[in-house]
Subunit: 217 residues, 2 copies
């Protein structure tokens, strides 16, 4: 539906990528409501977005709007999913199967977006040889072999702080190309791999900021 440019995409700010994810979710909701086309203004208003920002973010990837019509909701959603790599299934390694690892394993949102946890790694002898929802729990030393055999491309790291660095290096050594790290503490992000740390307390801090401002106003 869109005139799409096929040149190599320039450096895209991570915030733009995050917003593409948000737009995709907004379009999904609108589609479920039976809306077929929408203007950038209406899209922005309905989800408290910035319409100029929406247009600027999309412009990195081509020309999606149609004059006098706006965006075709289903078409734009499919385009954004393709851009985000959500038009395929990714095989994900989960390292660490404690409280957080177990919660992430059961998190419905990953599978819904095409992220399939295909192997769990944990060196706890009590867990080895077991399986969770049909997915085997394997020792870390099996990582290189299993990464290849199971075509693992991404990894989620949910190990204690002191294990995060060696685990990350093992993942890179096994050919994993992108790592989402939930372990707290200092890390030397490895080279030649996409590495992203999630710090859940930052989310709470955006809330305490506004509460603190309120108490001071």
């Amino acid at each position: 539906m869109a005139r799409r440019s096929h040149f190599k995409i320039p450096r895209i700010p991570e915030m733009t990528v995050r917003r593409l994810s948000v737009y995709t979710r907004c379009l999904q909701q609108i589609e479920e409501d039976g809306v077929k086309t929408i203007s950038s203004q209406d899209l922005a208003e309905r989800f408290s977005l910035n319409s100029a920002q929406v247009r600027k973010d999309l412009a990195y990837f081509g020309e999606f709007g149609v004059r006098g019509i706006g965006y075709y909701v289903s078409g734009l959603k499919a385009e954004l999913q393709r851009i985000l790599g959500l038009d395929r299934e990714w095989q994900v390694a989960l390292v660490g199967f404690g409280n957080l690892g177990s919660a992430l394993f059961h998190y419905k949102g990953f599978a819904r977006q095409g992220f399939r946890i295909a192997a769990i790694f944990d060196d706890d002898p009590a867990k080895l040889g077991q399986a969770a929802g049909g997915v085997p729990i394997l020792p870390l030393r099996d990582l290189p072999r299993e990464a290849k055999a199971r075509n693992l491309q991404l990894a989620i790291v949910a190990v204690p702080a002191e294990s995060a660095q060696p685990v990350t290096e093992a993942l890179v050594g096994a050919g994993i190309k992108a790592i989402l790290n939930f372990a707290p503490g200092r890390m030397r992000p490895p080279k030649d791999v996409r590495f992203k740390s999630v710090d859940l307390s930052i989310e709470l801090e955006t809330l305490s900021f506004y509460l603190a401002q309120g108490t001071r106003a």
Copy 2:
């Protein structure tokens, strides 16, 4: 140490607030390394930040740099912690004590930043009357009374999608002023409360985006 303005702070973009959290962590690391002062350029370089952005973000809150010196590391860190409301302890309610709730309860990062989970709410009869790490697991109907008695100000919601809306309304009714929601799915964010939904799959999508671009380049 800084000339600080005491007028009411204007509308601060959420991304600025998130970056203040990041700066605070960077300053913490630098302080641990024994560095006393640092320029915005060096700070930016060391943590792959944008030095103009650092100055712009800080400028919302006052004038922190000292000509010819840069920032005093400990002083700036303390200022940012105060701005973020991290100079006090917040009493947090956790609603939902399944896999994710349990993981969030044990997440070390919250307590380190002053967020103390002071009460857990879960209507599962198997959990009621129990406690986790000395924190009682209570039925949701006790929320109004306990919110008052325990001075609960923030809440973390980790319930299934279908319970998220009624739980959120119960929290607002009990006087909670800020909610961090981990439940997936559509929500009508309540009025008169700071409401933030965390979608963990967005974090994975920023990774799959770059992988997808890579396979296409």
